[in-house]
């Protein structure tokens, strides 16, 4: 497999204005401004092979969008070098654009007032897609999703889910080598999320398109990505297979408990009772989740401790989810 994207020691810095607070502050801002430099992306390197689906993860403001903008040629790195498909994207944005597709969150790139099919026809002209390529792509689309009802509907009248679907189809239309999807399933209902995941998966398989996906939804990651890259505060925290990730912190399992009485109170109490053991306690409306590092503490021991002082109504034991691993990485970093 050849590398389609190579990122070498890339750093991106921004200058931002320090705004002062309050009425007095904005009066001062009128006369003097003070800027500070922020490193949105800090010395990141990675290579991505043709046909991979890479999940690009990180909390809000981690630098995901900045990296994607650099790969699409919208931003130029402050230091370092990015090659996409052998080109420097920021040096020749238009040429790079021919080979990539982009879906940016909820911002539709389609013509707002045009029916989808007309948008497709315009894209065919803009990307100079040959007739055969275009019709085979449309045929493929028709076999994958039910687009017939969408084709003649103006984009402005579509639901968010339909719009996202249309945007993804439009991004793949010119059979690009790489497609960037920035939070493609944000704000969608469960069945639409599923539909979109299946579609992305199928298109990736069918056309061997490299897909780079940022998301906060671990469902997307589990359904699509073999490999994930995690960054936070501009620094790369993790870059490896998703299976590898789960064993990354040793063997973790989650013990879920439903006690009698107020969950919040119990959860606080448990935190005290279990202090000193390698566990972390969180709670939601239904369950108290105790993440146990089995290399250091036995699940049975934990159970013993907590049932001493309370009645347990219900419990279950779960393998650690991607979501929890990632939360641990965000919280604690990689040791």
């Amino acid at each position: 497999m050849s590398n389609i994207i190579e990122i070498k020691n890339v750093t991106k810095e921004f200058k931002v204005l320090n705004r002062r607070e309050g009425l007095k502050g904005s009066l001062k801002d009128l006369f003097s401004r003070d800027y500070k430099t922020i490193r949105a992306v800090d010395n990141i390197s990675m290579t991505i092979a043709q046909g991979e689906i890479v999940g690009y993860l990180g909390p809000n403001g981690a630098g995901k969008s900045t990296t994607i903008k650099m790969m699409t040629g919208v931003l130029e790195p402050t230091f370092g070098q990015i090659t996409v498909n052998g080109n420097l994207p920021y040096k020749d944005r238009t040429r790079n654009a021919q080979e990539i597709g982009v879906v940016f969150g909820q911002r539709s790139q389609l013509w707002w007032s045009l029916p989808l099919i007309e948008s497709f026809k315009l894209l065919k002209d803009i990307y100079q897609i040959p007739d055969e390529g275009y019709s085979s792509m449309i045929k493929l689309y028709k076999s994958l999703v039910d687009i017939e009802p969408l084709l003649h509907k103006p984009v402005r009248q579509m639901s968010l889910g339909q719009r996202t679907l249309s945007d993804i189809l439009a991004a793949f239309l010119h059979n690009p080598k790489i497609v960037f999807l920035d939070e493609p399933t944000i704000g969608l209902d469960v069945s639409m999320k599923n539909k979109i995941r299946t579609l992305i998966h199928a298109l990736n398989k069918e056309k061997n398109t490299t897909v780079i996906l940022t998301t906060h939804d671990m469902g997307d990651v589990d359904a699509l990505c073999q490999r994930i890259v995690i960054i936070d505060k501009g620094k790369m925290l993790y870059d490896n297979d998703i299976e590898h990730l789960k064993g990354f912190f040793g063997s973790y399992r989650t013990l879920k408990i439903r006690p009698d009485g107020d969950i919040k109170d119990h959860s606080d109490a448990m935190k005290n009772e279990l202090a000193g053991r390698s566990v972390s306690v969180t709670s939601d409306d239904e369950w108290i989740s105790i993440l146990v590092n089995e290399d250091k503490t036995k699940v049975m021991d934990v159970l013993n401790v907590i049932q001493k002082s309370r009645e347990i109504r219900d419990m279950k034991l779960e393998e650690i989810s991607t979501e929890e691993v990632i939360r641990k990485i965000y919280e604690e970093g990689v040791k």
Binding site: G22, L23, S26, L27, D29, L30
Partner: protein, 267 residues
């Protein structure tokens, strides 16, 4: 205190407008440019007329009138039609209606911050400069008091017209078209671009039956008249007060009536 929540909006408006320091600079520059053009244009007109007084106004009268009309315009223009129209089209209106005050007041007080900054940033400096430059051509006496009263009523009339026009956007998608129609009518017939004294007789008569001249022509005429007869001022203010009340009532009724359309159709 009840007023406090309104003043909170005023303060937020002031803060916001400071953020746009460049916009303010540009606005001042734009006004200067406009006034320059106005100055030379009218100078040429007076030069070619051969007399010092045209339609009862001297060159400096006309100039002061137009300069202050521009300042008043900048002070009063709130782009309320746009605001209402967008709010209706985006559906944001539903949120605005949930605010703990009537929409009409909410919108007005949100703008009041801009009123304050605009007053100090454009109107007051312009007024002072005009007074100094013309060396006493603007009479400073009891007419100032009348002027302030008149401007307050002008603001209310202008806002009512804006609000009414904005309400029309409930019925049509065309904010641009509605707004531009309102704007050209108001600017022309209120005497903001050309003093009403210059209008031909029939037009002058027609305009006198309309509310528009109360916005610019009335306050400015009152200001420029140093020794006003009580009955002239009173009748001018009376006409303004009449339009104030009529337009307040009409715009409120129209809004309430139209609002039913939103609440029935769900926006």
């Amino acid at each position: 205190m009840k007023l406090k929540k309104y003043f909170a909006l005023t303060r937020a408006g002031i803060l916001e407008s400071f953020q746009f320091r460049l916009a303010m600079l540009v606005m001042v520059a734009g006004n200067l440019l406009y006034l320059t053009v106005v100055y030379f244009l009218w100078k040429a007109i007076y030069a070619s007329s051969g007399t010092d007084v045209v339609n009862g106004m001297t060159f400096s009268d006309t100039l002061i009138y137009l300069v202050l009309a521009t300042a008043l315009f900048n002070f009063m223009e709130m782009y309320a039609v746009w605001e209402i129209g967008r709010s209706i089209q985006s559906g944001k209106i539903v949120l605005d209606l949930l605010k703990p005050m009537p929409f009409r007041s909410y919108l007005f007080w949100s703008y009041s911050g801009t009123f304050v900054t605009q007053f100090f940033a454009t109107f007051l400096p312009t007024f002072i400069i005009v007074c100094v430059v013309t060396g006493g051509a603007v009479p400073l006496g009891i007419n100032l008091l009348y002027f302030v009263i008149s401007v307050v009523m002008a603001v209310i009339i202008n806002y009512s017209i804006d609000f009414m026009t904005g309400t029309i956007c409930i019925y049509t998608e065309s904010i641009w078209g509605i707004n531009i129609m309102k704007q050209v009518i108001v600017l022309l017939l209120s005497g903001a671009t050309i003093p009403i004294a210059f209008f031909p007789e029939p037009l002058k008569k027609a305009v006198s039956y309309m509310p528009f001249q109360s916005i610019y022509n009335t306050p400015l005429s009152i200001l420029l008249n140093g020794s006003p007869k009580a009955e002239t001022v009173l009748s001018a203010l009376g006409v303004q007060a009449f339009w104030c009340i009529v337009l307040l009532i009409i715009s409120n009724l129209f809004w309430k009536f139209s609002l039913r359309k939103i609440t029935v159709n769900g926006g």
